[in-house]
């Protein structure tokens, strides 16, 4: 398993190189630059700034310089946030995004797997239809609709939960629900499908034939195979949750990384765009490797070499 993980990590290096190269040239293809403003700067000041950030060098030289700094994990200074490096900004903002993602995934897994099991155990009954209809609504509701709706109900009308912020424990509830809901809906559908598939298997009949209590049949014998589709989905889901929290961060005023990602693209903050894109790429690759390892752990027939 360690050898497999190492192999996958080494395999990730060329992927990251491609991501870095593509981002580097694409962001420079975009019209405008980091220091374009409504009122253009005096030419000699602009020249000084460009020299400071090496933007006056030929593109090839800039690329090599950037790749060199990547080798020592230096993402460079931000062009827009003066006196802060990209590394510092990510280090400050990403833990917030990660915590939000963690709570959202917890919501998604708990609600999704629970609902999926119930639907699979009582197919074509009101329980199944109720849960699955709710999941359908969940899939179809964009989070920029769900978020304000939840705020309206639970904050403005009832006053139970704070409208926005990221200080207290209660601050986590609505953002996590908003971000996790759509994934909970997907996971419910995947779990239902997986469980229904597994419940038809011969070994479930065996488990019942040997007189195991139904609870053991479901939780020990069926769930393990039944959540495999969910596990495969978790790789993209975690990546999506961790990177897709921008809207949530704006609605609930959360100081996470998502807003930096989008603003830096609009600002042509070259190093910041590249830094966040690369950082997310690393994160997504790592999640996928973790999920593949989890898969092998759940299904002993899957072996990697």
């Amino acid at each position: 398993m360690a050898a497999y993980a190492l192999k996958r990590l080494v395999g990730a290096v060329p992927v990251l190189w491609i991501v870095a190269t593509l981002t580097f040239f694409m962001i420079r293809l975009a019209p405008g630059g980091p220091f374009d403003q409504d009122k253009s700067l005096p030419p000699d000041i602009l020249k000084n700034i460009e020299a400071k950030y090496h933007l006056d060098e030929p593109l090839g030289a800039q690329y090599l310089r950037y790749m060199g700094s990547l080798l020592v994990l230096d993402l460079g200074p931000s062009f827009k946030y003066a006196n802060r490096t990209v590394n510092e900004i990510i280090a400050a903002a990403f833990p917030v995004s990660l915590e939000l993602a963690f709570w959202a995934i917890l919501v998604a897994l708990t609600l999704g797997i629970g609902a999926g099991i119930i639907a699979a155990l009582y197919p074509a009954t009101w329980k199944d239809h109720g849960v699955m209809s709710l999941a359908m609504v969940g899939v179809c509701t964009p989070n920029f609709v769900l978020g304000p709706l939840l705020v309206l109900v639970f904050s403005l009308t009832t006053g139970w939960l704070p409208v926005a912020g990221w200080e207290t424990a209660q601050d986590r509830i609505l953002p996590a629900l908003t971000l996790g809901a759509i994934y909970a809906a997907y996971i419910a559908r995947l779990t239902r499908g997986g469980m229904m598939e597994v419940l038809r298997q011969d070994y479930i009949r065996t488990a019942r034939a040997k007189g195991l209590p139904e609870r053991v049949v479901i939780l020990r014998h069926a769930l393990r195979g039944g959540i495999l589709p969910t596990v495969s989905f978790l790789g993209p889901a975690i990546a999506g949750i961790a990177t897709g929290s921008l809207v949530i961060e704006l609605i609930f005023d959360i100081p996470g990384l998502g807003r930096f990602f989008v603003q830096s693209a609009l600002n042509r903050d070259y190093t910041m765009v590249m830094g966040t894109a690369l950082f997310y790429a690393v994160f997504i690759l790592a999640m996928n490797i973790l999920v593949d390892i989890a898969y092998a752990w759940l299904d002993p027939r899957v072996r990697y070499d």
Binding site: Q201, D202, Y203, R205, T206, A207, R208, A209, K210, G211, L212, P213, E214, V216, R220, H221, R224, G225, L298, D299, P300, R301
Partner: protein
């Protein structure tokens, strides 16, 4: 054969119907039989004849819906299994009555260690410490012929061959020392040489543990070799029952005769095995009269009109059909017309 003591298992007029979109499928339609302590009862018939459904319904293992038990009783030591609540029936399953299945490749959970699957069975029925349960499981694996039983406990099913998995299934079924083992086509999915080993193992263990066995198979040879008594099922009904010697020498039902005739015979020079013409009937649309009549070479007009009642065969009129000697077990009774030889047919063949 008649015993005065209470039967171990007594199935009376069992009817199991499947309510499907295409109509009501009468999978089991009035089946009655008894099982004595220590007896091997063979149930033989084609796919869809109701052999497995009979046994699965007794254990409450059929999916309901669509399956519904319409009538009947299944008395285990006087207690009707068909009216038990879920928890009481669970305590019977795997404890008093264990079951093994046709597909050893898929009947064990691929995600769980073999040891886990064995130990949980024991602990579902007995208050036994994990370590003691594990020790008993290892002894049982050893007994059914699994080499390195202690190591296998920590292995997964996919690491074993089909024959080995069936041995594990048998070990799992016998851990609780049940009174009855239901073996549903236990060798059908296995190679011929492995089949013989598994049957021999079941025979040994039956003698050792003194349990009764219900052996379900579509292969007449397998059933004949193992059983004290045979039920022949067709279209959800028992069409003939008796001891193997009697049934082989003097089959009374044309379907039984056809099953015997379609057995491979090493002495025959024919290139092809004789097969039973036609296909099993659609159980949702059974014809009037005898269900076998459309495929039966002996059928008369009456067969297509009325369903034959059960009769017992008179001893004197039985014509000898020359059953293959090799298939008659040594020491099995050769008297004609055992009292237990009953069948459902209008015609004397």
């Amino acid at each position: 054969m008649e015993k005065t003591e209470e039967k171990l298992l007594d199935i009376q007029d069992l009817r199991v119907h499947f309510h499907t979109r295409h109509g009501v499928v009468k999978a089991v339609d009035g089946v009655s039989f008894g099982l004595e302590r220590g007896e091997v009862l063979g149930i033989v018939g084609e796919s869809g004849s109701g052999k497995s459904v009979t046994c699965l319904s007794v254990l409450g293992l059929l999916p309901a819906p669509p399956a519904r038990i319409e009538s009947g009783r299944a008395l285990l030591a006087g207690r009707d299994l068909l009216t038990l609540d879920a928890e009481s029936l669970r305590r019977v399953r795997g404890k008093s009555i264990s079951m093994i299945f046709q597909e050893p490749m898929t009947s064990l959970n691929p995600y769980l260690k073999i040891g886990v699957q064995l130990v949980e069975t024991l602990r579902a029925h007995e208050a036994i410490a994990a370590e003691a349960a594990r020790a008993r499981a290892i002894r049982m694996l050893d007994r059914v012929g699994i080499a390195d039983a202690g190591i296998r406990m920590d292995g997964y099913p996919h690491e074993l061959s089909g024959g080995m998995r069936q041995r594990v299934m048998i070990a799992m079924a016998l851990l609780t020392q049940p009174d009855i083992l239901i073996a549903d086509e236990p060798t059908t999915a296995l190679d011929v040489t492995i089949q013989a080993q598994i049957l021999e193992l079941i025979r040994e263990l039956k003698a050792e543990f003194g349990m009764a066995v219900i052996l379900i198979s579509h292969a007449m040879g397998v059933v004949a070799e193992m059983s004290d008594r045979i039920l022949v099922m067709y279209a959800g009904r028992v069409v003939e029952q008796g001891n193997p010697g009697e049934i082989f020498r003097h089959p009374a039902h044309p379907y039984t005769k056809a099953l015997i005739d379609s057995m491979p015979n090493p002495n025959a020079s024919a290139d092809r095995l004789p097969a039973i013409a036609g296909t099993p009937p659609d159980l949702a649309r059974l014809p009037a009269g005898c269900a076998f009549a459309p495929r039966c070479g002996f059928a008369r007009p009456v067969c297509r009109e009325t369903d034959p009642d059960e009769r017992t065969r008179p001893a004197s009129e039985t014509p000898a059909l020359g059953a293959p000697e090799a298939l008659t077990r040594p020491g099995s009774p050769t008297r004609s017309a055992e009292p237990g030889h009953a069948f459902r047919c209008h015609v004397d063949i």
